[in-house]
Amino acid sequence: MSHPHALASLEASFVDAFEAHAGLLAKNGTGPAEALSFAAAPALRRQALNRFRDLGVPSRKNEAWKYTNIPEALAAGFAVSPADPPSDALPARWRDCLLPNLDAHLVVLVNGRFSSAHSMIGDLPEGVAICGLETAATVRPDILRRHLGRYADWETESLTALNTAFARDGLFVYVPKGTVLEKPIYALHLPAANERLFLQPRHLLVFEENAQARIVERCCGLDGEATFTNAVTEIFVGERAVVETYLVQDPGDEHSVVSTTHAYQEAASTFSTATITLDGKVVRNNLNVLPNAPHCETHLYGLFLPAGDTQVDNRTLVDHAKPDCVSNELYKGVLNDRASGVFNGKVFVRQDAQRINAFQENKTIVLNNEATMNAKPELEIYADDVKCSHGATTGQLDPEALFYLRSRGMSKRQAQGLLLHAFAGDILERISIEPLREMLDERVTRLFGE
């Protein structure tokens, strides 16, 4: 699929789909894109589309996409549409995607559309809004106008431009100044189509100053036809806000996902996020954080456990634009079968960003000769008074440790399971939502243990 004609026709198919649905997308200025603040509304989608057309579908010639072949992942063909209204019928097993004992505000997105039939938001503190992005365009156009499209970079990222051109629905969360959301939000993104769909949810999460919240977003597979999800998430973390997000990906091995997140931090805020990939066909996560004021704290955690032919590509950027911030990044992976993993983590410290402490580490265990890992940690520092470190290691389970356990009577599998558990434990122990931690703990055990 790297053939230029094939690429061109792929791009043309998106443009054609756009034209075919132009009327629906315009919809008299009530859609989310029409609430974007920085451009004349009706023209914006077309601008974004044109930008996509200029940038093209990312190919492997582009250094940033060297290991993840998007044209190939798209080759099978996916129907591009702005998504029909969500169907109320879901296979009963969607409930398997819930977490037992989790008391949360439940948001269900089916094929990228907010499903009021399945969501259970429950009572919310004064002023808090949790709904679909499309609804938000009507109920909180002010928030959309202030934040939507402010952080995600559709000017240079082709898939973000594509998402912006088609954006219609997704998760919307707004937590006003000084409000603490006690219960976590559990947002399920369920690809459940009976045709091959190209899905483009657009999420906006806004936490004003001193707000506190925890959000779990999970892309959970229900079999069905293969899908390709191109999701874009924008997160605003206001002054002294404390925000914890989790992205859990287990869409199933027929489903591909590109998830692009842009988080923007104001002064003295804390943003912690964990990206956990359990399966999928091709999974690419672009995580960008901009602590754009002093005294910010940023924690990026990752755990990827692919098996089979799953490809997981994590690309992160922490852009330290302002002084006196701390960032800490730890990504751990275990690759089995023919799985492949990529970690490309960049920490950027701008010239005026003095007294930055930035740590980054990636550790991967490769269980099988056929599994491959590419790790590229990058530090780019233009300030002189900084403390930064980075490192990446890829290896096998320590044979000495395995032998020690087996010499005490444990089977090879049991010993492997115990060591992998210990390895993943560094990430698992940082998960503050107990039912989520338990589910993942169980997944780690089930994947490699007894």
Binding site: P399, S407, R408, G409, F423
Partner: protein, 253 residues
């Protein structure tokens, strides 16, 4: 029938021959000491008995309770009652002592057709065995050997021995790096674990451990072979004359 019967054992790693024909017979309840200079193959010998796969056995055979030991996986050997106290115990960050021991012990119990030990009984057992070698019970909630002092690591090996109740315990330089007080604690622990149906192979570089753990037989290993065997007085003789004496004999032989 002897518990352990080793004939003409040869083993190598990469292209290097390390064991060059070891013969050894250990009866039930006996304590055998193996002494010898550094690099003579003592740890290799212990590792081959425990099933370390990096070493390739090129000749000879090992019968354990009449069965071919070399044919068993390391965990099978452990389940059949072979225990190795490591010269360099491995650190396992993130694996708690508690979980490690529970899994190991329950594997052994399952193998014997017993139910897993209930939590209360397990804790009680753990406390008793820890007391045997004065191991701080606080260590049970820590990761295995992670950040343990040298002495704690060695005592942890004997503690595990006490928990798992093997029939053949191989102690690889459990005494090295211990001060005299710690040495006594370890030796007292081992002595308390001596039984008529439990044999010990005690590998040591120095004679002093054998003042406390009194062996039935002393063997001297040099250049991958047992070059001399005798009673406990052989250890004293070695202490006096040094290993050069043996080495010269080995070369002359």
């Amino acid at each position: 029938m002897a518990l352990l019967e080793i004939n003409n054992l040869h083993a190598r790693i990469e292209e290097q021959n390390i064991l060059k024909g070891v013969d050894l017979t250990v009866g039930a309840g006996e304590v055998h000491a193996i002494m010898g200079p550094n690099g003579s193959g003592k740890s290799t010998f212990a590792a081959v008995l425990a099933g370390r796969e990096e070493f390739e056995v090129t000749d000879g055979d090992v019968l354990y309770e009449g069965n071919d030991l070399l044919d068993m996986e390391p965990d099978e050997r452990a389940l059949e009652g072979v225990f190795l106290a490591f010269q360099y115990p491995v650190e396992l960050p993130g694996v708690s002592m508690n979980n490690f021991l529970r899994q190991a012990l329950n594997q052994q119990r399952e193998h014997r057709g017993e139910e897993p030990l209930p939590a209360g009984a397990f804790l009680k057992r753990m406390r008793e065995c820890a007391a045997l070698v004065s191991l701080d019970p606080q260590l049970m909630s820590r990761s295995v050997n992670d950040g343990f002092s040298g002495g704690e690591k060695k005592r942890n090996e004997i503690f595990q021995l006490a928990m798992l109740e093997p029939r053949l315990a191989i102690l690889d330089e459990t005494d090295s790096g211990l001060d005299i007080d710690a040495l006594r604690i370890v030796a007292d622990g081992v002595n308390a674990l001596r039984r008529s149906d439990r044999s010990f192979v005690v590998i040591t570089h120095y004679q002093r451990l054998l003042n406390y753990i009194v062996p039935d037989v002393v063997h001297v290993m040099a250049d991958g072979r047992i070059v001399r065997s005798g009673d406990k007085s052989l250890a004293l003789e070695l202490e006096e004359k040094g290993y050069d004496w043996i080495r010269e004999e080995a070369v002359a032989a």
